[in-house]
Amino acid sequence: MAEVILQGVSKAYNGRPTVHAVDLTVADKEFMVLVGPSGCGKSTTLRMIAGLEEITAGRLLIDGADVTHAAPQKRDIAMVFQSYALYPHMTAYRNMAFGLLKTTSLGKTEVDRRIRAAAEILHITHLLERKPNELSGGERQRVAIGRALVRQPKVFLFDEPLSNLDAKLRTRMRGELKRLHKELGLTVIYVTHDQIEAMTLGTRVAILSQGSLQQVGAPMELYMRPANTFVATFIGTPEMSLLRCAVKADGTGSRLDHESFSMVLDADAANPDVFLGVRPEEIHVHPHSVPGMARGIVERTELIGSEALAEIMLGQDRITARMPVADVPESGAQVSLSFDLTRARLFDANTGRALAA
C-alpha cells in the first residue's frame, strides 16, 4: 500500500485542456473520493492515474516511483469500472484469475487461494462458475471488486461503481466498501458525482470543477469550511444559501449590509462585495415579527419526515431553512429570521473565494 502523488497533472485533447494542473496527494490507506458534476474531469483524472489516458503534462508518483508514462499494468493498481467491464465470455472465476495470471508469476494454487479468499470476503463463492450474464447487477459488482482485490494492488481505483445499482443496493454496497477499506487497509481513489457517496465514504474528498481542483479535505472540513462558493453549494443538501451583501466601514469595525438587514462584522473585510453563506440549519425562523430581525416571506414549505424545509424570499435572495416539523410556518407568511453567525462564511462576490473569517 502506498502514497499517490499528482503533481500538476494536466490533460488536453487536441490542444483543448480538460484537466488543469491537478496537485493531489493521496496518503497510504486513505479513501480519497474525487467528486464533481459530470464533465468536471474527475473520470479523466482517474483514468490518467490508471494509465488509460496519457498525462499531457505533470508528474504522477505511486509509492515514490514516477509512473507518469508507465503502462497500466506496471503501476500496480486495480480498477473497478462503472459498467464493471467483466469479460462476458469468462466465468467469474476466470475474470478474477485473468489479470493475475497475466501480470504476476503466481502459481495456480496461490491464484486459487487468493480468489477463494476474495470470494469469501465478498460472499460470492457460490457464483464463481457463472458467467456475467447469469449474475445480477449487485453480484457483478462484487465480482468486479473481487477482480481488483485479488490483484492486491497498491492502489484501488473506482470509477462510479455504484451508479448502476438501485438505491437500496447502493446503500448496502456503500457500507460494504467502507468495511472492506477498513478491514483490509486499502488505498482507494474513488470517483463519483454523488456528494452523499463522497461524504460517507471518503476519508478525504477532492472536489473538481471544470478540470480544476477546488478543495481537498475531510468531509466535515469541506462542509464547514468550503474554500469557495462552488464547494459551498456543491456539498450539502439542501444547498447553502448565498446572500449578496456589501461590507461597509463603520468607525470601530465593519458592517455587513443586506437589503433587508444589517449586522456588525467582527473582523475586517477587504472586499466591499461579498456573499454571506448560510446553511439551512443555521437559519432560525421566528413566526412572529421580532424587531431588528430580518424579515422574509415564506414561498414554499416541504415536510421531509423528521424535519421540514422552508424556502423564504429575503429581499431578492431565496434562502432555505431547516426546522422541526412543529415549527413550520405557512406559505405566504411573514417571518423574522436570525442567523447563527458563529459559522457564518463570507465569499468574495467576484472570485467566489472564501474570505478569512
Binding site: E54, I55, T56, A57, G58, R59, T68, H69, N133
Partner: protein, 300 residues
C-alpha cells in the same frame, strides 16, 4: 522531455497501427491498387487483350462511353436492379433475422433453409432458375396459373427478364444478409428489451426504436455490402440470359466482362470499370454521410 515521451507514445501507437495494417495493405497493393492504377492508364489507350501494342487515345474511350447506347442501357439496368433488389433483399433478411432470433423449435432447419441458396454455385443456381422460370412446364408458372396469372416466358421477355433475375437474387442473397444481421442481433443487450417491454412498448415499435438503432452499424454495413453485392448479378446474367433479350438484362459488370474478355477491348472495359468505381464510390460516400452519422455504437 515529458511531452516528448507522450508524443513518442503516440508515435508508437500509430506505428503499431500501421504494422497491423501492413499485411492487408501489402496484398491490396499488389492485387487491387496496382490493377486499378493500370486500369486508369489503360482507359486512355487502345489496349487489346493478348496484343502488346498499346495506342494512346486520350479521352476517346470516355467520349465513346457517353455515346454508347448499350452503356446507358446497362447503367439503367444496373441502377434499376440495385434500387429495387437491395432494399427488398435487406428488408426480407431483416424480417427473417428478427423472426429467427428466438428460441423457435426447428431453428436450425429454418436458418439452413434460408441460407442454403448462398451456397449453391451460381452456375447451378442459374440453370435451376432457367427451368423454374420456363413457360407452362416451369413450376413458377404452374403455381401462378393456380391464382389465375397467365403463362409468361419470364426470361424470354424483355420486360420481365430483369425482374425475374431480381427475384432470384432475393432468393439467393436474403439468407446471406440474414446471417450477418442475425450475428448483430445476438449482440443486442437483453435488458434493453426488458426495459422497453416494461414500458409497454409494442413489438413493432421495439423493432423500429430499439432493434434497428442498436444494430444500425451492421445494417449500415449490410446496405453497403448489398450495394457492392449487386455486382454478383453478373453470374446470373452470364448463365441465364447473356444480357438478352434485347439487352434487357445487360448490367455494367457483365458489360465490363464482355468488353474486357469477350471483345478483348481492354481499354474500353477499363474505362467502364473506372466509371463504375467512381459511381459506386460516390454512392457509398452519400450513404456514409447520410446514414453513417446516424449509426449508434454501443462501445461509444
Amino acid at each position: 522531455m515529458v511531452i516528448s515521451t507522450a508524443l513518442s507514445a503516440r508515435i508508437r501507437e500509430a506505428g503499431l497501427a500501421y504494422l497491423l495494417l501492413l499485411p492487408s495493405l501489402a496484398f491490396l497493393a499488389a492485387f487491387t491498387y496496382w490493377p486499378i492504377l493500370r486500369s486508369i492508364w489503360f482507359s486512355f489507350h487502345d489496349v487489346v487483350l493478348g496484343d502488346s501494342k498499346i495506342i494512346w487515345l486520350g479521352l476517346e474511350n470516355y467520349q465513346r462511353l457517353l455515346e454508347d447506347r448499350l452503356f446507358w442501357k446497362a447503367f439503367g439496368n444496373t441502377a434499376f436492379y440495385t434500387v429495387i433488389t437491395i432494399p427488398l433483399a435487406i428488408t426480407c433478411a431483416l424480417l427473417l433475422a428478427v423472426a429467427l432470433d428466438s428460441k423457435l423449435r426447428g431453428m436450425a432447419i429454418y436458418r439452413s433453409a434460408f441460407f442454403y441458396p448462398v451456397m449453391i454455385p451460381s452456375v447451378a443456381a442459374g440453370m435451376v432458375w432457367v427451368f423454374l422460370y420456363s413457360a407452362s412446364y416451369g413450376p413458377i408458372n404452374k403455381g401462378l396459373s393456380l391464382i389465375g396469372i397467365p403463362d409468361t416466358a419470364w426470361l424470354y421477355d424483355s420486360k420481365w427478364a430483369l425482374p425475374a433475375i431480381m427475384v432470384m437474387s432475393v432468393w439467393k442473397y436474403s439468407g446471406y444478409f440474414m446471417l450477418i444481421l442475425l450475428a448483430a442481433l445476438k449482440l443486442v443487450p437483453s435488458d434493453l428489451y426488458e426495459a422497453a417491454r416494461l414500458d409497454g412498448i409494442s413489438a413493432w415499435n421495439r423493432l423500429i426504436h430499439i432493434t434497428l438503432p442498436l444494430i444500425s452499424p451492421t445494417l449500415y454495413f449490410v446496405i453497403i455490402i448489398g450495394l457492392l453485392h449487386s455486382y454478383q448479378i453478373f453470374d446470373y446474367v452470364y448463365v441465364m440470359t447473356h444480357g438478352g433479350p434485347a439487352d434487357a438484362t445487360n448490367v455494367l459488370t457483365f458489360y465490363i466482362y464482355q468488353n474486357g474478355f469477350q471483345y478483348q477491348d481492354v481499354g474500353y472495359a477499363s474505362t467502364l470499370a473506372n466509371v463504375l468505381l467512381l459511381f459506386v464510390g460516390g454512392l457509398i460516400a452519400v450513404i456514409a454521410t447520410v446514414f453513417g452519422r446516424r449509426v449508434h455504437y454501443l462501445g461509444r
